[in-house]
Amino acid sequence: MNQNAVRELLHRMADDALIIAHRHSEWTGLGPLLEEDIAFSSIAQDKLGHAQALYQLLHEFGEPDPDTNAFMRNAEQFYSCHFVELPNGGYDVSLIRHFLYDTAEYLRYAALAQSSWEKIALLARKVAGEIKYHLYHARTWVIQLGAQGNEESAARMQSALNEMWPYALGMFEPGNTDAELAADGIYPGESEIQRRWLELVKETLDKAGLVIPSSADPVYGGRKGYHTDYLQPLLDEMTEVYRIDPSAEW
């Protein structure tokens, strides 16, 4: 097994999960309905758990412990995609991002559940069961607001989809080691996951009466450490308490 290739993959997934968890947690107390407030907060808590489990695997490869890895790096040391860093915007934008992101995560973990690397396969089987609920939640609301709401809700969902689409494609920025991961049977690679993702998101978007933008250039860079101006302030806020005393026992 190529350890560097695996580490790169784990970092992309862990950093994405950590950052989107923070964004989702920003809905706590502000959700448009109590149930949605709870849903975004619960999903955030699940994602944090997933990130922690992935950082734990990285720790076993000799990286710092999960808290240090999560809280002591600067923006340029992150491998997350731009998609997860963007501010929440309105509920429409957050919901579309949640839907597009979780469809991708669902497929990533489903693929990893079949991985030749037993350790990630075991974790992936567990996580996939949880993501199912995230996806279920996202799909229900995308269809509800897209096809079962009114003219305004449909228009807002379509506009959110148009705005987020190029960033969503950026989730699949090709990794340097995709070919090796695929050859070793560890992970099928980003272009394959993107292919499956397009099929799966289309299923729901069709039901929601929403149309995939016809042309869009993917926004790449995050996987190589280039980020939007939104990431560093997010990290500063997330780690504000931790950095006061990193050795404190909670």
Binding site: E35, E36, I38, A39, S41, S42, I43, Q45, D46, K47, L48, G49, H50, Q52, A53, L122, L123, R125, K126, V127, G129, E130, K132, Y133, Y136, H137
Partner: protein, 161 residues
């Protein structure tokens, strides 16, 4: 004296889930193995319900205290995902304990879990299946929110996973 694994399990029956105090960690199905070596070392393995379950540290601590109270030669408690937790691991007594707490027990499933089963979760108050899923997320990661159209009450369910 070497303690039997049965004795350890019995002791673990006294450790309750901090979020649902009517159910023990054993009936919850989160204890995946109890082994006692010939020289008296007690090894307990636990698996969290949800990967990000915030109660796992508390439960691990409580399990350690319960094992320590038996005064074994030595002991260690590990948390591992190697045996993944699913709601199918809940015991019959565990499901009754959930009902007692006013929570609809999760429905059994084989192979793939289809989330449509959540739509008709039996109401823990009147037993009717004329119910509706309001949200797959509730006050803790493992619960969902439902409404019973028969007895007109909102209720919580323990979601199948």
């Amino acid at each position: 004296m070497v303690i039997s694994p049965e004795r350890v399990l019995e002791a673990l029956h006294t450790v309750k889930d901090p979020e649902i105090p009517t159910i023990s960690v054993v009936d919850m199905g989160i204890i995946t193995s109890v082994a006692v070596s010939p020289d008296g070392d007690v090894a307990v393995t636990m698996t969290p319900t949800f990967v990000g379950c915030p109660a796992i540290d508390v439960m691990k601590h409580d399990v350690e205290s319960a094992v320590a109270a038996l005064q074994p030669a030595s002991y260690h408690v590990t948390v591992s995902f190697d045996v993944p937790w699913t709601t199918n691991r809940l015991t019959e007594a565990g499901k009754q304990a959930l009902l007692k707490h006013g929570l609809a027990p999760p429905q059994e499933f084989t192979l793939e879990l289809e989330l449509d089963v959540l739509q008709q979760t039996p109401c823990p108050y009147c037993g009717s299946t004329n119910t509706e899923l309001k949200s797959p997320f509730g006050p803790t990661l493992c619960r969902s929110l439902h409404y019973c159209h028969h007895c007109l009450q909102a209720f919580e369910g323990f979601k199948p996973i």
